[in-house]
Amino acid sequence: MGLPPKATFPLSLLLLFFLFLVLSTSAQQEEFSEELLLKPLPDRKVLAHFHFQNEAPLAADSFARHHHLFPKSISQLVQKFHIKAMELSFTQGRWNYERWGGFDPISSHNAKPPGVELWAVFDVPLHLVDASWRNLTHSLSGLFCTSINFLESSTAYSSPEWAFQSALGSLRYGTLPREAVCTENLTPWLKLLPCRDKAGLSSLMDRPSIYRSFYHSQRLHLTMSSAASDGSRSGIILEQTLTVVLQPNDQNAGMSNVGEIKIQPSWSLSSIFGRKISGRCVLAKLSNVYLHADRGLVAQLETSQKNTAHFATNDTGPEDFRRNSGFELSVAPKRVLKELDKSSSVLYEYPIKEYKDIEQFDLGLMWEHPIVWSSPHAPFYASRFLVGSGNERGAIAISLKSTEMTQQLVANNIEDSCKLQVNVLQVVPWYVKVYYHTLQLLVDERPQVLTDFIERMRVSPSEDKVSPGMMELVLQVPCAMKSAVLSIEFDKGFLHIDEYPPDANQGFDIPSAIISFPDFHAGLQFYDKSQSKSPLLSKLQEKSPVLSYTEVLLVPLTTPDFSMPYNVITITCTIFALYFGSLLNVLRRRVGEEERLLKNKDAKKGVFLRQVLTNLSAKLRGKPLESTPSVSSSSSSSSSSFVSPKLILRVLLVAGIAIAWQYYSQ
């Protein structure tokens, strides 16, 4: 009212402009970002972690019908099967928790069991969950060119309640440990990215170098994002990651002489992938490359800097970070993020957008002198093995070994009351018949009473050919514990001949057990000034429980000889035929008549040769020679027919036919 008309006009224009801005942003909410995290690993390897995130608003009318960036097939899946959350991973190789670390977000999110792992949470009534799961497995196997449809049968999946991804609702979990992962799975996965591998960071994915790697895991994670205001679901987030552990080719292998310590190999993007980044994916809101130096490495660098006393303080320009005492980076980072903690890791950030002047972005790392460090470990190092021999019974043992982390905890805690929570989820197929009453716990190699340590336990026993057995455990172990072994005995079951997979003699896989430590959170707390919304950074900072997978076990079961049924049929039939034929012959035999005939024959042609033969045969049988010709043995009769010209003719005929057959069949 107080405003003069002159002022209201630009104001209303401004308002309109703002309104337009708001409208345009709300319409264009589908966002895509691509990021790559590189990290040198202590054992001369390099970790490359690609992270793509695609976000779409969940507008009721047009969701799963009209999309600009978000893949149509995934949104239709979500719509059709009412998926609340889902994760699908394809992995080849095993994450080495000892060397590559087990306490950082990457290892607890992206270290996956070999083969295919799928879990999904559905937003449907309880009795429809299984049907949705079955349909989903079929759709996914079509989408990703895999045999995920084998997870359809109720023997292949289970529904853990609290040991894994708790508080999400009706969850189904299944793994296929033997699934081979290759490029035919990567291509449909890449198809979900707007730029595929035509541009941007994904163009680095050179198939030979990825599949030559020590470990690679491609993952697809779907979650619903909730609005900040009322917590209702507002959008869907599709997170696609590819984690690769590569061995860089040693560039100065010729220069480093023998006898020297194993020096960390210097590497660059082009040396590990054989390609360079030639530009970003133009559709991405954000495309960054990060280089992560973990705590151990930074600590080592700092000590070496102190030793050499070249420590320039408080000069934190980016150029200084390019050169530090340990290594040299070929490209200067735009930003350096440090963790808040005292002994902190460092993250170098390279937004591809800002390296326009360089034709091709090729980040390289040159080590100046050898550094030895180790990655942070999970509180316990978990492994699993089989006990026992033979095809009848055995036992599964899960062992937990303390690492330097728990030793630190013990050092910090003077009181003895320190306890650690360990969750264990173990799924066994039905043909491995586990006896849950034989569960034993050895702490520091001494058997212990289970109830002292187990806080909660949930067992759903297996049902033959219906469901797998599942055991969820919550253990409370003292921090000072050096080692613990959980063992459980089982009998090996028998399968029907139809149920054996091809190559049954290879053995049967028991899927990985999941060990999680809910007291510990793997999350890096970076001091982030710019408040930029990088999905990878927020993922790294997310507090999530430390999780590790054990090895897949291979159980040899008794496998039948698969040609056996036919052999049995043939041999029984032959015996029956023999029996039947001889019976029939006995029935129609005329003993008296035969004897008479023989007598006559002998009387007619009493040849000397035959006489000799009968004598010989009688001698051979060790019987006294019977002079009476009335009783003649069957052998003499057979020998008499043996030399008959008719028989010789027949034998010749058969031989001739056989030769002719042989000749013509060739």
């Binding site: 009209h66 730029c195 029939l584 029935l587 005329r590």
Partner: protein, 585 residues
């Protein structure tokens, strides 16, 4: 087993028998006693029990095959292929301002004759050969002038007006033509409903020809020229669904990125079309935007047109199936038909991209269709100059006007895919007629044509599916056929019969429903999982399992029976000769 248990009891008499025979003097030539038939009975009874047991065994190893009505399938498919389905159609002509010497009946007969000359109506989904035309004549020049004036006005108004006139003459579902004899040039228009009108100075002969042509070529056959799209192909899935998948392809997003406001166009332009096609198929729409999708054919620069040119020879290679991940829809069921409608935006180095027709002209729509797959339209941005200054590509949205024209082209392509004309002019032998377009995309008479063709196509494909099923089943005698397949075949045939009988009465909707049902049931039967599985149990396998027992045993049994029979005959002869000798002596 019965023979085996008998053996101890029979063996004793055998010994007795032989003992009784031993005192015989010359057994070779003579025989005094009647030959015994115990052994013969034993071996023959074993043989007989084997022969009797064989059918039982055969029955036990028989494979379950539900009886399929092969003769009904054969007669049905020969019927569908032999005399195509035809629907009863009613025609009506209203002459205004004509002075006929002949009676109405004769005029009607003349038109019918002309119609029969133009086309036998033997096509599937036609109106049959026996047309009946009703004729009404309104006399008086004043009326004609009045009518002419109204019809010379706007076509839309005239259409509504003619509709009211036609309904006065009681032509609800009949196809009508109104002829107005009046001064001025001849103008012929086909309306949105089931009528057309011709205004102008028309001779009677010519009028008859024109009316007949409009009836046969437009109303019955959908103004479709020969060979544009074959009428047997109707891109409707077996479950009666079509998924229209619209994709916007940015060939190279590094040059420019275009987006579209699809939701708006969906609401304004597509929904009426979907509603109009509701009786024909259940249509759903989805859209996506794809990037980095170059075409796989080459184009060349043409100075004359000032653009890059791709010719109709390149069209088979235009669709790049390696890079265009158009995808079938997950949301749609397995039987739905997905039609891909693609808008292609060329990259900067091939912009503007134009389609050159075989006659040398540049295509106006700049698009093409591929029957049963979908259509592609190339859309060139306003200015094809890439902004070299900024490294970031320009993000823009296709303007609503451009989008509207694009979708008009795409809808024209959809009409072509369904087998209709995409332009609004029909040129026949007797002259051109304007086809009035409907805002819903499809006029009523076009929908009639489509649903007739649809029913016919469904029945045809049902017949071919059932025919191949019966051939398959007959060629594999040891294939298991579940009861369910038999039921599906039976129901499919019933539904097909129902559709045929409904069609002959002229109830389109019910006929469409049951024809669709018959087709989907036939496909259900053909693609039944039990047929697809490997449960086919071959005869060789069966033989391999049973031969180790039956081959040797049969040899024994046959030989034993044969020998015993021979011996019995021989001995009997001897006995008889001895007997006769004794008698004689």
């Amino acid at each position: 087993m019965a023979e085996i248990s008998d053996s101890p009891s029979t063996s004793k008499p055998v010994e007795e028998n032989t003992q009784s025979l031993t005192p015989q003097v010359d057994p070779k030539a003579t025989r005094n006693t009647k030959p015994g038939i115990k052994r013969l009975i034993i071996s023959v009874s074993v043989l007989v029990s084997f022969i009797l047991g064989f059918p039982l065994l055969w029955k036990s190893i028989e494979i379950y095959r539900a009886p399929l009505p092969f003769d009904r399938i054969d007669s049905f498919s020969s019927q569908v292929e032999g005399n195509p389905l035809s629907f009863p159609c009613r025609f009506q002509v209203i002459f205004i301002g004509f002075e006929f010497k002949a009676s109405h009946r004769e005029v009607g007969a003349a038109i019918t004759r002309k119609m029969l000359d133009l086309g036998r109506g033997g096509d599937c989904g036609g109106c049959g050969g026996n047309y009946s035309v009703a004729v009404a004549v309104e006399r008086g020049d004043v009326g004609a002038f009045d009518f002419g004036g109204k019809l010379r006005g706007g076509d839309e108004d005239a259409d509504e007006w003619v509709r009211s006139v036609v309904s006065e003459y009681g032509g609800g579902n009949a196809y009508s033509v109104v002829l107005v004899n009046e001064e001025g040039e001849v103008r012929s228009v086909v309306g949105k409903y089931r009528h057309a009108w011709i205004v102008g100075r028309v001779e009677e002969e010519e009028a008859v020809l024109r009316v007949a042509e409009i009836f046969v070529k437009v109303f019955v056959n959908g103004a479709d020229e020969e060979g544009s799209v074959r009428s047997e192909f109707m891109p409707v899935g077996a479950d009666g669904k079509i998924v229209l998948s619209f994709s916007l392809l940015n060939a190279d997003p590094r040059d420019w990125i275009y987006d579209w406001n699809f939701r708006e166009i969906d609401e304004t332009l597509l929904q009426p079309v979907i509603e109009a096609l509701q009786p024909l198929a259940n249509i759903s729409v989805e859209s996506q935007v794809l990037y980095h999708t170059p075409k796989s054919s080459f184009s060349y620069w043409d100075d004359k047109h000032g653009s890059h040119i791709f010719t109709s020879k390149d069209l088979p290679f235009f669709v790049n199936s390696n890079e265009w991940h158009l995808d079938t829809s997950v949301a749609a069921g397995g039987r739905s038909k997905v039609l891909q409608l693609v808008v292609y935006i060329p990259s900067a180095k091939e912009c503007p991209l134009q389609l050159k027709l075989p006659n040398g002209d540049i295509s106006k729509t700049n698009g093409f269709i591929s029957p049963m797959w979908g259509g592609v339209v190339v859309w060139n941005p306003q200015s094809c100059i890439k902004d070299l200054e900024s490294k970031d590509p320009v993000r823009s949205t296709i303007s609503p006007q451009d989008l509207r024209t694009l979708f008009e082209v795409l809808l024209g392509q959809l009409r072509q895919l369904l087998g209709l004309k995409s332009d609004n002019l029909y040129v026949g032998e007797s002259g051109a007629s304007i086809l009035l377009g409907s805002e819903r995309g499809f006029t009523e008479w076009e929908l009639d044509v489509l649903s007739r063709k649809h029913i016919c196509f469904n029945l045809l494909s049902c017949a071919t599916t059932l025919g191949s099923l019966s051939r398959l089943v007959q060629s594999l005698p040891r294939m298991i056929i579940m009861d369910e397949i038999g039921k599906q075949v039976k129901f499919s045939l019933e539904a097909a019969n129902f559709a045929q009988s409904n069609a002959s009465i002229g109830i389109y909707d019910a006929s469409a429903v049951s024809s669709r049902q018959s087709r989907s049931l036939a496909e259900d039967a053909f693609f039944h999982p039990s047929i697809m599985s490997i449960s086919y149990y071959s005869f060789e396998h069966c033989f391999a399992i049973y031969s180790p027992f039956f081959l040797p045993v049969t040899m024994h049994v046959l030989l034993a029976a044969l020998r015993e029979w021979k011996r019995y005959k021989q001995e009997n002869m001897k006995y008889l000769t001895v007997k006769t000798k004794a008698k004689v002596s």
